[in-house]
């Protein structure tokens, strides 16, 4: 009869394991994945606002930075970079402007999601100021010049000569419930 008395305890342990795995999937895996992305630069999810530290500008190196703008799904705005590519020296701060225009008849909220390519450049591409840190409200018919200030770190791997920064603009007007401001 000892078998019967051992069963409830084992049952409890196994159920606990199942519940733990469920919790693991929902509460541990997503943050773990974000961490993984941050370390490896996957998806080019760059760090948040960067506080500029004085570094020597490395004038011996020219880095081409490309800007690409994409609109997701039903996003009807006009959205594009004024300059499509600039040449910078590592360590130098540079401002570029993206143009956005809401040509619909309703007030809208947009959110730009950045990506840096190649992956191994993500850690060395610092944004000191970026419209993507916040969401972008544009009233009906309104247009805006969205500013981005960035510094390419002098430690950028030598193999990288071109960095591509792309923004995908999402329509988040109907998503006011969501903590969109957490996005960088």
């Amino acid at each position: 009869m000892s078998a019967e008395s051992k069963n409830p305890l084992l049952l409890a342990k196994l159920v606990a394991l199942a519940v733990a795995m469920f919790m693991f999937a929902i509460f541990v895996l997503p943050p773990l994945y974000d961490l993984f992305c941050e370390i490896t630069g996957i998806g080019g999810k760059t760090d948040g606002a960067y506080t500029a530290v004085a570094v020597e500008v490395d004038t011996s190196r020219d880095i081409e930075v490309q800007f690409v703008a994409t609109k997701n799904a039903t996003m009807p705005w006009d959205f594009y970079p004024i300059e499509e590519r600039v040449i910078v020296h590592p360590g130098e701060a540079r401002e570029v402007i993206f143009y956005a225009h809401n040509r619909t008849s309703s007030d809208m909220l947009g959110q730009a999601i950045p990506n840096v390519l190649p992956n191994n450049a993500a850690d060395y591409f610092h944004k000191t100021e970026c419209f993507c840190f916040n969401n972008q409200p544009l009233a009906a018919g309104e247009s805006a010049e969205l500013a981005l200030v960035f510094i390419v770190d002098p430690d950028l791997p030598a193999s990288v000569n071109t960095v591509t920064l792309s923004y995908t603009m999402f329509d988040i007007t109907d998503r006011t419930l969501v903590q969109v401001s957490q996005v960088q």
Binding site: G43, K71, T74, T104, F170, D171
Partner: protein
Amino acid sequence: MLKRAQALFLGLLSPVIALAMAGNVSAESATRQLNMPQGVTEVSQAAYDIHMIMMWICTVIGIAVFGFMFYVMYAHRKSRGAVAANFHENHVVELIWTIVPALILIVMAIPATTALLKVYDTENADIDIKVTGYQWKWQYEYIGEGVKYMSELRTSQDEIYGRAPKGEHYLREVTEPLVIPTGKKVRFLITGNDVIHSWWVPDFGVKRDAVPGLFTAAWAKTDVPGTYVGECTELCGIGHAFMPVVVEVKEEAEYNEWLAGKKAEVAEYASTIGKEWTFDELMVRGEEVYERSCAACHQSDGNGIPGVFPALKDSPIALGAKEGHIAVLIDGVAGTSMQSFADQLSEVDIAAVVHYERNAWGNDVGDVTQPIDVLNYKQGQ
């Protein structure tokens, strides 16, 4: 008995033989192609090489293992009077067949790693092209050149549904292919607009998922001009099978000419937009655009698919005010599959298709939608 055993042997071995023979068929005969294409780039060649190495290793192991097995099945049959031995362990043998495969794998890892490094070598590209997957078409944008266009399936719905004979290039033809020059390293920046697609050109060895909100890079460099056909390889909805990739590789001079022509087209288009179209001209063009860009969901007869894609026949939007109808195409409908066509179709095409939808399948609004109406809507607000 022997005959039966032979038949059994051949029958069981047929898969191995077939796969082994597959390697010897040249990639020339497209319809009978059995093996992976060697392709025209360094990357596709690397993939092919490692594929062949792996296949031959597997074939050799397979012949050895199955050969032994068939020998056992023949020699140690009860019907031949075989008496079972009674051993069930031999640590030396077991150790050997753990270590030997491990060693083979370690050796294999070397070419596998080299090949992968090649795939990832996207630095120092001469040309950058953004590839965006849409439901169900591709958009190509030549970064820094001001040229971008959609590339959609050209095969008609009639051919697909058997109402017309299938052409030679059935499902392998698009309205406008991607064009790249020979001898230049082209980098593709791949992303998705709505759901995940995957951009595949077998002859380039390039396959990358097009994920909305995420960019990935791939590259190709080839010296062989020609037309290369690929596919979308990630399930993306009902048009998944109907969004082929077609790439034309041209000599550099030809490419430059093409690019200049493309730029001129953009400039020219802006000046002709004011042209007045007649009712019938718009119906003809509208039907063409509708079949290509709308019929996959809303169906050729305008009845849609209940519960998924609304009918346009007798729909309040198609029968309502013209501006409202244009608005749906330009702005899309948030939270549905109805995307914004503002960047996908020209003003003329949008005007034509709106006109068509308002006057086809018994819809009888009777008005005429001109390109200038569309332009006014775009700029008016």
